[in-house]
């Protein structure tokens, strides 16, 4: 049995006022193995958070089925909640409470009794490095401290499956690294299955053993990061040229030997080509012959962003105005 499984999962929001109806999740099928860190990668608005809200029983699916630890998320919602820990994208904390009080209340609400809530709160505050701030009101915490406390509150009942929705969004690099280390430790030492959504390629690459890439509510690629990058079967050559010359550059490079695919952006072209370093000279020559000024050229191994680009025609990060395919 998989830790998390979904089949034909759809979440549709009805029209509101002038806004058209939205299909935030458009028929997702996925299976997350027990004990793995599963990355759910996609840009803002792709449907990641809605998927998490459905899996964690906060929102009911419009159609399709999903199971967490073998339990149907609609029919056994309360049982699912006992098993999972969740840190949502919006850090939802009670600013008037202290960190210690928040964790103790959370423990009580999970039915932890006796002196255990106080002990568990101390343990978790130590774990996330907030012991010194335990008795301070949360409204005085920094963004990074709130994130860590939110993570601690998701662990208070020792869940076996952890949902982390953009856990490092808005954090500085050092705090991001701290969260990554903690996620790895939870997975390695405690065997917790982690379902992690992110829009950061590096995060998915660093943490996830398998990744699903989502765009416009649908999964467009799935596999280990190495498999996904390997599926491109080519190097990625990116050139930037003046925007008014982009069409001419694209036409000139279409004849390039070994090119598998060209994606056009506003100021740049991305070429998927068998041996990128060898093709550089030919690229420069062809552009020169076409009288297109070359501003820059880079050759790189494929990234998950390239996988995303190939699958969707636009990038997760940076420029998203992809307009054509060669």
């Amino acid at each position: 049995m998989d830790a998390i499984e979904a089949s034909g999962l759809v979440k549709r929001f009805p029209a509101r006022g002038d806004a058209a109806p939205v299909e935030a999740v458009a028929g997702i099928d996925l299976a997350v193995k027990e004990g793995e860190i599963f990355g759910f990668l996609g840009p803002n608005g792709a449907g990641k958070s809605t998927t998490v809200r459905v899996f964690t029983t906060l929102t009911k699916p419009t159609s399709g089925e999903a199971r967490v630890a073998g339990l149907d998320i609609v029919r056994n919602a309360q049982a699912v909640r006992r098993i999972i820990g969740v840190a949502l994208q919006e850090v939802g904390l009670d600013g008037r409470a202290t960190g210690r009080e928040l964790l103790e209340l959370q423990a009580h609400l999970y039915g932890v009794g006796g002196g255990e809530p106080a002990r568990r709160a101390r343990e978790l505050l130590d774990l996330v490095g907030l012991a010194d701030a335990a008795n301070r009101r949360i409204q005085t915490y920094s963004g990074g401290m709130k994130r860590r406390l939110d993570l601690a509150s998701a662990l208070v009942h020792k869940p076996r499956i952890l949902f982390l929705d953009e856990p490092t969004s808005g954090l500085d690099p050092a705090s991001r690294r701290t969260v990554w280390d903690e996620v790895r430790r939870l997975n390695d030492e405690d065997g917790i299955t982690v379902f992690l959504t992110t829009q950061y390629l590096e995060e998915a690459d660093e943490l996830a053993q398998r990744v699903a890439i989502i765009d416009a509510g649908s999964i467009v690629a799935e596999g280990t990061p190495a498999e996904l990058k390997g599926s491109i079967g080519a190097d990625v050559v990116t050139i930037t040229v003046p925007s008014e010359k982009i069409a001419r550059a694209e036409k000139a490079l279409a004849a390039l030997k070994g090119v598998k695919e060209i994606r056009r952006h506003k100021h740049a072209l991305t070429l998927f080509i068998a041996d990128g370093s060898k093709a550089v000279a030919a690229v420069v020559r062809l552009l020169d012959e076409a009288k297109v000024q070359l501003d820059s050229i880079t050759v790189a191994s494929p990234t998950l962003d390239d996988v995303f680009l190939r699958a969707t025609g636009h990038r997760i990060e940076g420029e998203t105005a992809a307009v054509g395919v060669a």
């Binding site: 630890a69 073998g70 339990l71 049982a79 939802g92 008037r96 409470a97 959370q106 065997g191």
Partner: protein, 268 residues
């Protein structure tokens, strides 16, 4: 060691049902009380305004009221002061702040019975209302109020006003849960004005005339006031007190339904 998914799925659930829900409601309520105490600026106006109205009205209208045969206007006005204290419009604001901040989602992610979230918050609100009503009553007694049914009647009056406050507070909770909007929740206060001013608040019912008298007859607060004034001015008049309680029950049935429907819409 890692538990298998099979083990997880078959893990026995913890105790559930009413005792567990009440236990959770207690902790939710305890947190609400703590938060109220940590933000005195939020509830101090709720103490000041009813006392202010009570003493202003008694001071300015006592002589005028003798024209209606009201010689104990302090006792006549006391229920109004208590209803002001019990219906001050702050109910549901903490909950809507939780909804806005995302903390309410955090609570919904726990296995707590959804009803416990509402019962806990309303229970804490009842405590706040009871304290405010007691404060008004103590000040009124200290200012020389002659109370017909004595200390026992005063205590019963505070309890009746607090139960009314609970019924009224359900409007705020219902709006908070349904809309998630602080402005809309705050507007629950507006409902109080027609309820209190289209009732024999400042003069007896038989002194009202025309449409105002008709409106007052249809207003449940009129019957609540009669029951409360029975305690403060006349004695243990069982019929009036009972009718007052029926009025609270009728309003409460409506407002609690509103709150439960709001909760259902929020957790769907």
């Amino acid at each position: 060691m890692t538990a298998t998914a099979t083990e997880l799925a078959s893990a026995p659930p913890r105790a559930s049902g009413a005792p567990e829900a009440l236990r959770s409601a207690f902790y939710i309520g305890k947190r609400e009380v703590r938060n109220v105490l940590r933000a005195p600026a939020d509830f101090l106006p709720g103490l000041f305004i009813p006392v202010f109205f009570y003493f202003i009205q008694v001071g300015s209208l006592s002589k005028f009221a003798t024209g209606f045969g009201l010689h104990n206007y302090k006792a006549f006005q006391l229920p109004i002061g208590l209803l002001f204290a019990a219906s001050n419009g702050g109910s549901g604001l903490n909950m809507v702040m939780d909804i806005e901040s995302g903390y309410f989602d955090k609570l919904l992610l726990t296995p707590v019975n959804r009803l416990a979230l509402l019962i806990g918050a309303m229970g804490a609100d009842l405590c706040r209302i009871f304290v405010q009503n007691t404060f008004v009553m103590v000040l009124a007694l200290a200012a020389g109020l002659e109370f017909k049914t004595g200390i026992a009647g005063a205590a019963v009056l505070v309890i009746i006003a607090s139960v009314w406050g609970l019924a009224y507070s359900a409007i705020g909770f219902g709006i908070a849960l349904k809309t998630g909007s602080p402005a809309a929740t705050q507007s629950a206060w507006v409902i109080f004005f027609p309820l209190i001013f289209l009732a024999p608040s400042f003069a007896p019912l038989n002194a009202l005339s025309g449409w105002l008298r008709g409106a007052a007859r249809a207003n449940p607060v009129t019957y609540l006031l009669q029951g409360m004034r029975a305690l403060s001015m006349e004695g243990w008049v069982a019929h009036d007190i009972f009718v007052g309680l029926i009025a609270i029950a009728a309003v409460g049935a409506f407002t609690l339904t509103l709150a439960f429907r709001g909760l259902l819409s929020r957790v769907r």
